[in-house]
Amino acid sequence: MQDESLSIATPAPVLTTGKQKLAVALAGIGILLLLIVWAAGTAIAPVPVFLTALGLTSAGVWVFVQEEYLKYPEGIKNNGVWFRSLTARGIWGWLVGVVITGFYICLYWWPQYLSGLIQLFDPLSQLLRGTAANQWFVYGTLYTAAVLLMGIKFLYKYRSNPYQRLRTFSVMFFQLGFAFLIPGLLMRLQQPEIYFTYFWPLSYYQGTPMAHQGYAGSDLGTFFFFFGLAMFFIGTPILTYFFGKRWYCSWVCGCGGLAETAGDPFRHLSDKSLKAWKIERWMIYTVFVLVVAMTVLLWINVATNRSVLHGFSQMFYKSYSFLIGSAFSGVVGVGFYPLLGSRVWCRFGCPMAAWLGIWQKTTSKFRITVNGGQCISCGNCSTFCEMGIDVRAYAQKGQDVVRASCVGCGVCSAVCPRGVLRLEGADGAVAQRFPA
């Protein structure tokens, strides 16, 4: 192939070593085992197959990480992200997108096609929860495995950066503990299956009369119902005032946890255009209004004993659940990682992010400051912003980044070659106090 680049360095780097191909083969066989069980619709010898699939995938990730990062000195390497098929919307990217999308479609609407996987995960469910597996247990386990395995990859990639290390330990901890082990153990103890890190309105069911009734008779459930409301009305404004929305979106939330770990290889695919920003604002606040309206109508319906709204609010709930809860947050939100980037749901849909964003934009101390006049316009910050913020436009002007969407992942600051960006908190902007 003729080298058409004017640069001295080759524009087509060698992307994978022999060992990495072996690693991909190992992980590939592990994932293939799961796909076979999925297709077969029945699991033979679930325990050995499950352990083999998990073991091979973990080994593959580990060998890949060794070759990709540990062979080199610390320092963040994003080499070849625009050349690799998987991370540059190539054929592998599309293939992975289609498989994940297909999985989500089965998960939400045709769980009978997951019966093989459900059987495969049953022994683990019995062990943890003392009850049979269902599609949600399969999902939760795969989700947690993805956060942990890709979290390890992330930790090695960003090992030079204490902020990234701590943040990633945090999302791994909350996913494993609060979104996997604790709900499972609660089921074993005959308690409601509670995910303490998901509140209304992200978890839209949690604010409804159905949730309130469902928890009746359980002290823990009733506590969680009011805890969730308190987090929405009191916790969120206070925590966001001090830390920005990152206290939730990139340190605690499970959706954020998956985006930050499994989604990290795709973060550069987010759309940075002004048009995307406009669409983002319309969409996210629309979803927020919808979830509030839906919840209010459900409560009115209960208060009026169905005499006014009849079946309308229930129909509203079902539509929201189908369109937003399943199709948007799951199918598009995760299935389209390799095509639209890792934060599509967080950016365009999540009503919790909308609520956090309103507080971040209007009252929070949180901001990303720019170091004097030192931006060289390289664009790394914008490229690797998973929320599609054109960080460079702020950096060039020496302007604080105060944006409703910023989840405070800190990657812009980490990849800046001149150390120009810093996540911090104070009332008032540096640029206003000290014009350059």
Partner: protein, 253 residues
Amino acid sequence: MEHGIDLRLNTELKAILPDNQGKCRAVVTSSGETIECGFVGLTAGVRPNIAFLKNTALETNLGILVNEQLETNLPGVYAIGDCAELRNPPAGRKPIEAVWYTGRMMGETVANTICGKPTSYQPGIWFNSAKFLDIEYQVYGEVQARAPEHHSAVYWEHPDGKKSIRIVYNSQDGHVLGFNLMGVRYRHEVCDKWLRDKTPLETVLQNLGLANFDPEFYPQHEEELVAAYNQQTGKNLQLKQKRGLPAVLQFLR
């Protein structure tokens, strides 16, 4: 050999040896070492590449000569960036400064002028930054390779050899002259103010946290630098100010 680069410090190139076809076969260093090679890359600084302008009406020296408004001897013709040579550089500055930031500031200056707001080039206190082989580097003010008379320095280096802080000060009256940082980020506005105000070194050391621009949870090395100063001078200075934006805003106000 980290990053695949084998360095020879404090060593210069003495000769390039040819093979029988006149191509390079080895280099000899000032320490007498012969290193076999097939390729020599010489990167000893930059200079304006203006040979093609030599026989034009433009006045040139090492670079294209420009006045305070970056205008050449031809009215309405401006030169900026690596090729421009200031006839009267500001105090302490060189006539040619071929770095990104001066280029950008010159661009802003000329943009103002040609848009109808005649503006003189005022680069302020010297600064530069870069990142080489995963190590970030920043400089503010005067930090010269060969320290002139009355230039002294406090220096701290991390045991891993990848972080260092050097603060240069005037040994006669004690005010700070420059900051040089490897693997540590300092805040531009704070260092700039200290340098412009000719702040005494000890004031700077006591408030050094104001300058720290490293991300949250990064270790702060200011106390170690103060300790290095105490060891050097026998004094007992204490660090009063840690990293944090609210204090910085107070300071800059």
